[in-house]
């Protein structure tokens, strides 16, 4: 595992922990934002294996889809979860005022945890 991938995974861990705290505080906007950040950092860790380091959210999602969305190297649902997390973050932002419930965000956080476990396995087997 590269140093960068390790840092990204650690960062994702922190984001997941923070998302749990925000869920406990019933702050949907902050929790959705942290869940999305976790997914993005994990996607970046995967892309690091391929020598790619996109920055903006849009570039990360597109690059992850290109490299892993249909390749079979990672479970294809992770790509969907990544996009869903980004859309959930947008929906949860205060200026939209959409009816995003805590349970939906809790699901996103659970998915980030599942993705984290898969990414750890992936980067360990693809140093």
């Amino acid at each position: 595992m590269s140093e960068r991938a390790a840092q990204l995974i650690e960062g994702a861990e922190r984001a997941i922990a923070s998302a749990h705290r925000e869920l406990d505080a019933e702050d949907t906007e902050a929790a959705a934002e942290r869940a999305c950040v976790a997914m993005l950092r994990l996607a970046k860790a995967c892309l690091d294996v391929d020598g790619l380091a996109p920055g903006p959210t849009q570039a990360v999602c597109i690059a992850y889809g290109s490299q892993f969305g249909r390749s079979g190297r990672m479970y294809s649902a992770y790509h969907r979860w990544l996009l869903d997390a980004a859309d959930l973050r947008k929906a949860s932002s205060g200026d939209l005022n959409l009816p995003v419930d805590l349970a939906s965000i809790a699901t996103a956080v659970e998915r980030a945890e599942i993705f984290r476990d898969a990414v750890v396995r992936f980067v360990e087997h693809n140093p």
Binding site: R80, L83, L88, K90, N97, L98, T107
Partner: protein, 237 residues
């Protein structure tokens, strides 16, 4: 309702200028606009604007106020005008037919954009027409075809908004979609239902195709804030 039947026919008739004038006035209910401004913002001739305004005044949807040499117009506050306002909350860039069969692949080849069916919001200025881009419209059409059978009667509309609806999108801009449902029980369920469709198109195009779900009540009633901006973008194309 009987006495309003003729007015309904008139408002929902084929005159896009009439609709645009009414939409313009309804979009700014607290302001009165004079003939010249209406004519300029709708992008028509003074004669046409005057003729269509006279019809709207006769239908009781718009009131006319003379002040000196100026004549101003504003929407009336009658219950019928309120109902028409609701009727006009149909976007310019709404997908053409969400019940169409099958899901066709999106052709990413650029083609000349077509003018939007502007119904609500300020009409595009003649010198700077805003038109939704062709790719955005094709994605919209395809998604609507898929979402129609998925949601059936729950689906109130599928709209394009943002830069691609405004017509000022960069080539790699996201395709931003609003899905309006009559009710939303659990937001995550709607994401899950549509996840494969949106991810599939995103993969196919190498772009982000994002969506938000909005209840029909919120879509129709919100008069300020980001959702209102989103709606006006979608409607003005």
């Amino acid at each position: 309702m009987t006495e309003n039947a003729a007015a309904v026919d008139m408002v929902m008739g084929k005159s896009s200028i009439r609709r645009r004038i009414l939409a313009l006035l309804i979009a700014e209910p607290d302001q009165r606009l004079h003939l010249r401004e209406i004519q300029r913002r709708v992008g028509t001739s003074p004669g046409t604007a005057s003729r269509e305004l006279a019809l709207l005044v006769a239908a009781g949807l718009v009131e006319r106020e003379a002040e000196g040499h100026q004549v101003y117009f504003r929407p009336t506050s009658s219950p019928f005008a309120t109902m028409v306002r609701t009727l006009l909350l149909v976007p310019a860039v709404q997908a053409p037919d969400h019940a169409a069969n099958g899901v066709a692949p999106v052709d990413a080849t650029p083609e000349p954009a077509r003018p939007p069916r502007t119904i609500r919001g300020s009409a595009p200025a003649r010198t700077n027409p805003r038109r939704p881009d062709a790719l955005g419209l094709r994605v919209l059409s395809r998604l609507a075809a898929g979402l129609g059978p998925l949601y059936a009667e729950r689906l109130a509309g599928v709209f394009l908004y943002g830069a691609r609806a405004r017509g000022d999108a960069q080539p790699d801009a996201d395709v931003e979609i609003v899905v309006v449902l009559n009710t939303i029980d659990r937001y995550g369920d709607e994401l899950e239902r549509t996840s494969a469709a949106f991810a599939g198109i995103s993969l196919e195009l190498g772009l982000i195709v994002s969506r938000v779900f909005v209840s029909e009540a919120a879509w129709q009633s919100e008069i300020e804030g980001r959702l209102s901006v989103m709606r006006s973008e979608a409607m003005s194309g």
